[in-house]
Symmetry: C2
Subunit: 268 residues, 2 copies
């Protein structure tokens, strides 16, 4: 459907790699929705070209350059730069419904059924499970909601310094109001959860539909041996802060087969 889209964000070339893999993974699982990537003005030309080949829409969002209200808001809260950029997705009003996905997510099967959900649907955050994790969420673009979000953000800041804090205090009935707005955790399986409660991962992990490489270390921070198909710089002994080896290998397989060759071509 042309009025529904997946949306992601990449303000730099590293996150752009994530967006490429995410977009490919959505295509590989035959999504019927539009794919949109919001990029920052500093994303390099070859990356933009690559993104254009995967995504239906590549929108440069330079929030410093945007309408007065936002600019003003940002001047008051310079710490919330990327957060403001992410909230920008609400301005995509040529779509009636969207699913936002962090650039550090990877899709493992078709998830178009998410578009049956209403705003704001999201999966619980492991850690503080009465908060939703803002790496995957269903929303309805609206300039009015966008303005309210900006005001809220400027007046209250973010309790965690990022978009997750803002969105949770704005959509603050998520944990109590409507179970249908709770996406199953398998739509936003963060690697951090795996080792906290390993028996549950063993029981339910095979049903994972979206993996989220949440945290400081991202897949693109590792390197990959195309000969052996192994990820380097990874200890492979699961522990705190490590990404799950299987999912990491899946990310790299897709990157090295579906992204890297074309990217090399375009860098010449």
């Amino acid at each position: 459907m042309a009025d529904q889209a997946y949306v992601t964000l990449a303000t730099n070339d590293n996150y752009a790699k994530g967006a490429m893999v995410l977009g490919r993974s959505l295509r590989n699982h035959n999504t019927t929705k539009q794919l949109v990537v919001l990029i920052g003005p500093h994303v390099a030309e070859p990356c933009r070209a690559m993104l254009s080949s995967i995504y239906d829409e590549v929108c440069v969002v330079d929030i410093l350059d945007s309408r007065d209200t936002v600019h003003l808001a940002l001047m008051k809260r310079p710490d919330l730069g990327v957060t403001f950029t992410k909230l920008h997705c609400w301005t995509l009003t040529h779509y009636t419904k969207c699913v936002f996905m962090d650039a550090d997510t990877l899709v493992l099967s078709n998830i178009d059924e998410l578009f049956e959900r209403e705003e704001l649907s999201a999966a619980p955050d492991p850690g503080w499970p009465d908060c939703f994790n803002s790496g995957v969420f269903v929303f309805k673009p609206s300039n009015e909601t966008y303005r309210s979000l900006m005001t809220h953000c400027t007046e209250n800041g973010s309790f965690d310094g990022g978009d997750q804090g803002v969105l949770n205090s704005f959509f603050n009935t998520w944990s109590t109001a409507d179970i249908s707005k709770h996406l199953p955790f398998i739509y936003n399986l963060s690697s951090i959860a795996i080792y906290t409660y390993l028996p549950a991962f063993k029981q339910y992990g095979h049903e994972a539909k979206v993996v989220h490489f949440l945290g400081k270390v991202k897949p693109w921070n590792y390197s990959y041996d195309t000969q052996t198909g192994k990820v380097k710089g990874h200890t492979m002994t699961p522990g705190s802060g490590d990404l799950h080896p299987d999912f990491l290998v899946q990310w790299w397989n897709l990157y090295s087969s579906g992204v890297l060759p074309a990217l090399r071509d375009s860098y010449g």
Copy 2:
């Protein structure tokens, strides 16, 4: 109300200490409900006496000695000993509704409003938040449910080896069916969650109503200096596996003032 009760479990003298503190914390916050503790046959006499002074009912549950079905079930699954004992709470059919609380929980304010909820209400487990944590849950005693649970347990085992696995696979619509069965996380705030998402704890932690000292190290594994009011053997530098220093001190304050003096008297 005489037909509603808080229920806990202690199979040995260490968990009995936890049960004493839990019971005292419920009394201090003026609960109007009955207090029941299930104990194992090996809990020492002075501990039983102490528990009797706090709880309305002290029930010795020797599941090896109980009705044939349970005994038989247990023979097939000797690994599920304590799990079977916990499920025993469903047989307290002289109550119409109960709240089970692990012996390693501590109540920080009156929580009698939990009795407005229906079976099975529980808070999400940080780690795998589509599972509920079985440290605090609302249930309705029923011999029929008890038998079904036993059968389920014997036939399917427990994916985590404990009661949480069994209860989650038995009450398997918890995450999708009814938001009113999701207790707010502040009714079962596990210390593990605090450091995983510290900004959320800073934002919402002051509303905590029940702390759960989940994990290997329990409050009674530390020691306490009654002169200084400080807990010893605790690094006080928050990190993985550490219990939160404030909550730990609260547990010890209550233990040393409300439990230890009487316990010393009765040990002579």
